[in-house]
């Protein structure tokens, strides 16, 4: 086993532990836990047995297994980024609603006390 494999396995083990702890403390729900665990476990599989992605690369017509991983990762990152952006817009819209309601509400209070 090469040094990079050992480093990556340690990193992945730590990430899996984090995911587990997040799940146990209730920060993420079961479906989220399973998704993240599956993601890191498949990463672990690729590190331990790189030839698995080579087969996938051949099937897809991509030169090397490592390239398949990189392409897949980029697509995944774009997807997560989009989800995050949508979530931010939603949160911003919620904040606007709350702040607006507060602004209009405090005016009503003031009128009543006048």
């Amino acid at each position: 086993m090469s040094r990079i494999q050992i480093v990556l396995i340690i990193v992945i083990a730590l990430m899996l532990m984090r995911v587990w702890l997040r799940y146990r403390s209730g920060v993420i729900v079961k479906s989220q836990f399973l998704w993240w665990a599956a993601l890191w476990l498949s990463g672990g599989l690729v590190v331990v047995k790189p030839e698995t992605v080579n087969r996938l690369a051949d099937a897809l017509g991509v030169g090397r297994g490592a390239d398949v991983v990189i392409y897949g990762t980029i697509v995944l990152l774009f997807f997560l980024n989009f989800k995050l952006f949508s979530k931010l817009v939603k949160i911003e819209n919620d904040i606007i609603k709350i702040v607006r309601e507060l602004a209009l509400k405090s005016q009503d209070d003031k009128r009543e006390t006048e």
Binding site: F85, V89, E92, N93, I95, I96, V99, R100, L102, A103, L104, S106, Q107
Partner: protein, 221 residues
């Protein structure tokens, strides 16, 4: 019964000018609603002391969101015509008569201020940016306007009720025009004076803001 005209003034860190702006409007017997958009300075106290109905966003949301809050308040207070007005001292309250008369005579539901229909000294960088915005508007909405980003506008009550702006920041100006085109609301332009002062220029929008506006327009609903 005379129509009730209300001015909505969104203000963010405008303590230097807000008092004079509110006084100018009140002198023209227009009821003023200032929306302090989470300012760090004394904008709220100054606006209140000048006699405006003053609302406060506890955090800064952006001009579009502040306008929406103000319009909502104006509708609750029974405004018949709602005018939007800048807090930085660029607009003149004396222009409002021209702005509301097409609505009073039922010629239009919306009146948009235009600095290009009047002799105004406009700095070249602003001129270029505004002309680009006008071309963009013509391209995306088909509206042939002479000025697309003027803070002075007037809406009839029923248009203000239907407007519901979703753009919280500067893209609201384009959003309003998009909605005019979409709903086929009747509109006219009216000449307005714009006074460029070093202060108003420093508070205004530069080229970089144009990109931020486009980002909001394209990626926010």
């Amino acid at each position: 019964m005379p129509e009730k005209i209300m001015a909505v003034v969104p203000a963010y860190n405008e303590e230097r000018t807000i008092g004079a702006v509110v006084n100018d409007l009140i002198r023209h017997s227009i009821q003023v609603i200032v929306v302090d958009d989470g300012s760090d300075d004394n904008t709220y106290a100054r606006a209140l002391a000048s006699g405006a109905v003053t609302l406060r966003h506890i955090v800064n949301l952006g001009q579009g969101a502040a306008l929406s809050t103000g319009i909502k308040r104006a509708l609750l207070m029974g405004g018949d015509i709602i005018v939007t007005f800048d807090a930085d001292g660029q607009c003149r309250a004396s222009d409002i008569d021209n702005l509301v008369s097409p609505i009073l005579s039922e010629k239009a539901d919306i009146v948009l201020g235009s600095r290009f229909l009047k002799e105004n000294k406009i700095p070249f960088s602003r001129y270029l940016l505004l002309k680009l915005a006008i071309l963009y508007t013509r391209f995306t909405t088909g509206l042939k306007l002479t000025d697309t980003h003027n803070g002075l506008r007037a809406f009839s009550r029923h248009v203000a009720e239907a407007l519901s702006l979703t753009q919280p920041r500067m893209a609201h100006a384009s959003e309003i025009l998009k909605k005019i085109a979409l709903n086929k609301w009747s509109f006219v332009e009216a000449p307005t004076t714009i006074l460029y002062t070093p202060y108003s220029l420093s508070k205004g929008q530069s080229g970089w803001h144009g990109f931020k506006i486009l980002f909001d327009l394209w990626f926010r609903k």
